[in-house]
């Protein structure tokens, strides 16, 4: 049942985890809003795609959800990071930083640097 790590989906999952890490408990709209705010207009995201992803993360045990009351006092589903999710976030952050650092170093290298 392993799926190919789609770049966008993989990144989106990381963004969701990080958002929940920063904001604590949050509902779907809040997560979408936050991602939008931080990425600016660069990331054109169909907000709806968030929900299947949230369900997947829940199935994997990274987050849990429960019903609660939203700002305008309506029923909303709130998502929260679990211990597993936090650990996953840590490893994925480290991996991401590592990859980014390696790629960055490749970009920095100029022809004259080579021996």
């Amino acid at each position: 049942m392993k799926e190919k790590p789609d770049v966008l989906q993989g990144t989106l999952a990381l963004m969701v985890l990080k958002t929940l890490d920063v904001l604590g408990q949050q509902h779907g709209y809040g997560i979408a809003r936050r991602i939008e705010q931080i990425s600016g207009d660069i990331l054109a995201l169909n907000q709806g795609t968030l929900y299947p992803l949230l369900l997947k993360l829940e199935h994997e045990g990274s987050i849990v959800s429960e019903w609660g009351a939203s700002e305008n006092n309506r029923r909303a589903r709130f998502y929260r990071l679990t211990a597993t999710g936090r650990k996953q976030l840590q490893t994925e952050t480290r991996d991401w930083n590592q990859t980014a650092a390696i790629i960055a170093r490749f970009f920095e290298v100029k022809a004259e640097d080579l021996p």
Binding site: Y29, P52, H59, N72
Partner: protein, 904 residues
């Protein structure tokens, strides 16, 4: 871990049909509400705010689909949908489903049945630890055309010490008289070397097996008994070990009882069911000479990790060095060699070929039944063209359609396969009766899990292969034409009907191959059945008996021919007085026509006066020992000289009778015209023979007493009143009741000597038919398969021609309306059937030539390219093809043009 957790949650959602649609709807509604509020705050009009929110969220239907796919397992969901739909489709056309399922059940069931036999005989390893290490060793003298000549004691020691084998052992299968009890019983027993059980690697359940390093010559007085004998004769006595029993008046000590599951190695049912093993080192009576070969059945366990090929190589090296060391014993022209065969292979022997033939035949039946079902599926495809077109028009992907159709055909095949297996399972007892008793490892045949797995794998594979092509062609259609033509689909079906033709041609070709094989086997069987026997088996009954054979010759009361003749003459006289008995005779068991020979059925070296005296490798000849009445009772004709007479006794000169084949082979004369062997002198040594010359006094006509297939096996007969024999067969000719005769004869024999067992009464007619049993079995099976194949092919051609007539009904109607003769229409349709049959027969003949070439070894008296068989079978096939296209042709001929054209 995460993937696994996710998978199990989805699986549980799928099985519980849990849906989270409600939750998503609520979340999305909330999402939209929040976004709309946000948009309103950004001073949009309410309508615009809602519109923008919805746009930002994306396509709701797609999200729900994705969400649902994440919630559950889409693959299994589709599968269960397809399965439900397929089941509904099958139920909707019960006639089609029934025929298809029955056809597949027939094919898979028959294939599985034959597979279960093959599984037990060819594939199942022998029931001993590390069975691949077990081998049989044979010594051959190809230079003088002698096979399995046996081993001498020094040769066996060389084998044991060569470092190639862990243990080497020999065994003599035979029978033992257990005496000393109320009724002397006769059991299948074997005399084995002490290393026998070490070779097989099986330990005793109670007590111990023999010490494999025991080198004491002769019997060491120890026996091991089977679990069955222990329970039957000793009441499962737990203290049986160290007790003794009497075999032919010799006292033996029981040292062990084998486990209940233990079966001896051997080719016949009798050998496998051996119940007593006596340990025997090499007799001290015979000096260990290299040329004195005493031991035949030799089995061994290879050193671990040594392959039979590598072992054969080392064995060849051993032979070469022995030849160099003992040039006098191994003259180069005899080309003495050792040959290794894996034990499993040597036990199955010549049955392998018959079984492979049967498996091939049943495989063809399976193929034909699959082709038939594929044909049915294609026929249905044209009926479902519209359904497929509508589905495609509504956006179903082609792969999705193929998947659905494939699910349908797989369901059909698996249903058929399980039906076939279920029928086989229920009928297994009934079917086992038809398997000849002489089939090796008959007891191991079972309908096991492995056989079930085979049935399922075959059904699934067949369903995939034969479902894929129809599914491919069904799903491939031209939407507009199909929909416009209201599913008549005559344009889109051109590919399909071409495939149908190919399938029918294939069916016809395959059934022709099967029929040729069956025809050739039938001809061989018939020829063997009708063969001139050279002896007359009618109304002859053979009953076996064994005289005691004690280890100490001094205690043997039947040691000399004179001693034995007193008993034999009295026993025969008494049997002759039984009601209905006209004639009696006695011989050793080697002379039992078509009986399986035992220890004494062995070729012996023939030393001819003036020819072979100096040679240490004389030719070998089959010998048997008979009473003077034997030839007359069996109706064997004397050609020259005389037969045995009453005045030939132990103290008169030793005489022998030979058959024509022996005369031809050993006394060819200088010019090849043959010289008269009568009066020639020979020496044929045996344990019981007096030293000195034996004179040949008569020549009888060849008879097929050794093998039905071969009349020309040289035979030499000795007089039982000159050479005593222990393993005897009593013959009586007359009108006797086979059910009670054994008891009557036993009473008479035991009136002479109460210690002598009498057993195994059989008419020679039964012996004859059981010697043909494996041949008869494979012939009958292949004939049955061929008949099935022909029936299926007839159905196939009938279906295809009917379908063609249906498709061309418009064309036919127009032709009729334009004034075509009805006779021409009939001819036109029949011609189509004949074309199919012709092409099918052509392809089939090529296949049949290949197959009959491969099975040449199974044929007797008929050439693999027998013209009359080939022609006859082709004629039958053509006739069947015409007959099965005749019905649809008649329908086409009687077509009413007006109604047909109106209905279109």
């Amino acid at each position: 871990m995460r993937f696994l957790r996710r998978f199990f949650i989805r699986l549980s959602n799928f099985t519980a049909r849990r849906r989270a649609d409600q939750r998503l709807q609520e979340e999305m509604a909330e999402h939209l509400a929040l976004q709309t509020e946000e948009n309103l705050r950004a001073s949009m009009s309410p309508a615009e705010a809602r519109r923008q929110a919805a746009l930002k969220l994306g396509a709701a239907a797609a999200i729900r689909e994705n969400y649902h796919a994440e919630q559950s397992l889409p693959f299994f969901e589709n599968l269960s949908q397809d399965l439900r739909y397929a089941a509904r489709m099958l139920l909707r056309s019960p006639g089609f489903s029934l025929i298809a399922v029955a056809t597949i059940a027939l094919g898979v069931g028959a294939t599985t049945a034959i597979y279960s036999v093959i599984d037990a005989t060819l594939l199942h390893p022998l029931p001993y630890p590390r069975p691949s290490e077990l081998v049989r060793i044979e010594a051959n003298l190809p230079g003088v055309g002698a096979h399995d000549v046996g081993f001498s004691i020094p040769e066996l020691r060389d084998l044991q010490n060569a470092g190639i084998f862990q243990y080497v052992s020999f065994c003599f299968f035979g029978s033992e008289n257990v005496t000393g009890s109320a009724q002397p019983t006769h059991i299948a027993g074997a005399t084995v070397s002490p290393s026998y059980f070490a070779v097989l690697g099986v330990d005793a359940a109670l007590g111990r097996t023999f010490n494999p390093y025991d080198a004491s010559p002769g019997s060491n007085g120890e026996v091991i008994i089977s679990d069955g004998l222990w329970k039957r004769a000793f009441g499962a006595d737990p203290h049986i070990v160290e007790k003794s029993l009497r075999l032919d008046n010799d006292l033996f000590q029981i040292v062990g009882v084998m486990p209940a599951s233990f079966r001896d190695q051997g080719q016949t049912r009798e050998q496998v069911g051996t119940e007593l093993w006596a340990a025997d080192g090499f007799s001290d009576r015979t000096p260990p000479m290299r040329g004195t070969r005493l031991v035949y059945e030799t089995i061994a366990r290879l050193q671990p990790g040594l392959s039979p090929e590598a072992a054969q190589g080392r064995l060849d090296a051993l032979v070469a060095s022995l030849k160099k060391q003992y040039p006098a014993d191994y003259p180069p022209q005899a080309e003495w060699t050792f040959h290794l065969t894996p034990l499993a292979e040597s036990l199955v022997g010549n049955v392998r070929q018959s079984l492979i033939l049967l498996f091939g035949a049943v495989g063809l039946v399976l193929l034909i039944s699959c082709v038939n079902v594929a044909n049915l599926l294609l026929a249905r495809a044209s009926a479902r063209g519209r359904e497929m077109a509508v589905r495609q028009a509504l956006g179903a992907a082609r792969m999705r359609l193929i998947r659905q159709l494939l699910t349908e055909s797989l369901l059909l095949f698996v249903l058929g396969g399980t039906t076939g297996f279920a029928v086989l399972f229920c009928a297994r007892k009934f079917l086992l009766q038809f398997i000849p008793e002489s089939l090796p490892r008959l007891n191991d045949i079972s309908i096991s899990w492995g056989v079930l797995a085979f049935a399922i794998v075959v059904s699934v594979a067949a369903g995939t292969i034969f479902g894929l092509a129809p599914a491919w062609l069904t799903s491939r259609l031209d939407l507009t034409t199909t929909l416009r033509q209201e599913g008549r689909g005559s344009n889109g079906s051109r590919k399909r009907s071409r495939l149908r033709h190919v399938l029918v041609i294939g069916e016809l070709a395959l059934s022709l191959v099967l029929m040729v094989a069956a025809g050739l086997l039938l001809r061989s069987f018939w020829d063997l059945f009708k063969v001139q026997l050279g002896f007359n088996p009618t109304r002859v009954m053979a009953i076996e008996t064994t005289l005691p054979n004690p280890n100490d010759p001094k205690t043997d009361i039947y040691r000399t021919a004179t001693q034995e003749s007193v008993f034999l003459r009295e026993a025969l006289r008494r049997i002759r007085t039984l009601p209905g008995v006209e004639e009696t005779a006695v011989s050793d068991r080697a002379a039992l026509p078509l009986g399986h020979g035992q220890i004494d059925l062995r070729q012996r070296p023939l030393i001819r006066e003036g020819q072979d005296v100096q040679s240490s490798q004389p030719p070998l000849i089959d010998t048997s020992i008979v009473s003077p009445e034997y030839f007359h009772l069996l109706g064997m004709t004397l050609l020259r000289g005389r037969l045995f007479a009453d005045q030939d006794l132990e103290d008169t000169p030793s005489i022998a009778v030979i058959n024509q084949a022996a005369a031809r082979t050993y006394w060819p004369g200088k010019d090849g015209k043959g010289e008269d062997p009568v009066g020639k002198r020979v020496i044929v040594r045996s344990r019981v023979a007096k030293p000195g010359w034996t004179t040949i006094v008569g020549v009888i006509a060849d008879a097929r007493t050794e093998s039905l297939a071969d009349a020309g096996i040289p035979q030499m007969y000795f007089d039982i009143y000159q050479r005593p024999a222990k393993f005897l067969a009593l013959y009586l000719r007359g009108q006797v009741d086979p059910a009670t005769i054994a008891a009557q004869v036993r009473t008479q024999v035991q009136a002479v000597d109460p210690e002598i067992p009498v057993f195994h009464a059989e008419t020679l007619g039964d012996v004859l038919s059981s010697s043909l049993s494996v041949r008869r079995f494979s012939m009958e099976m292949v004939a049955l398969f061929a008949a099935t194949a022909l029936l299926l092919a007839a159905l196939g051609i009938y279906g295809t021609i009917s379908f063609l007539v249906n498709e061309q009904s418009r064309e036919i109607a127009i032709r009729l309306a334009l004034g075509a003769q009805r006779r021409d229409i009939l001819k036109m349709v029949l011609r189509q059937g004949l074309t199919l049959a012709g092409v099918g027969a052509g392809v089939g003949l090529v296949g049949a030539i290949i197959v009959s070439h491969l099975m040449a070894g199974l044929l007797y008296g008929v050439s693999p390219y027998d013209l009359s068989t080939f022609a006859g079978v082709t004629a039958v096939l053509t006739a069947v093809a015409i007959a099965s296209s005749y019905v649809p042709a008649l329908r086409a001929m009687r077509l009413d043009p007006i109604t047909t054209l109106h209905s279109e």
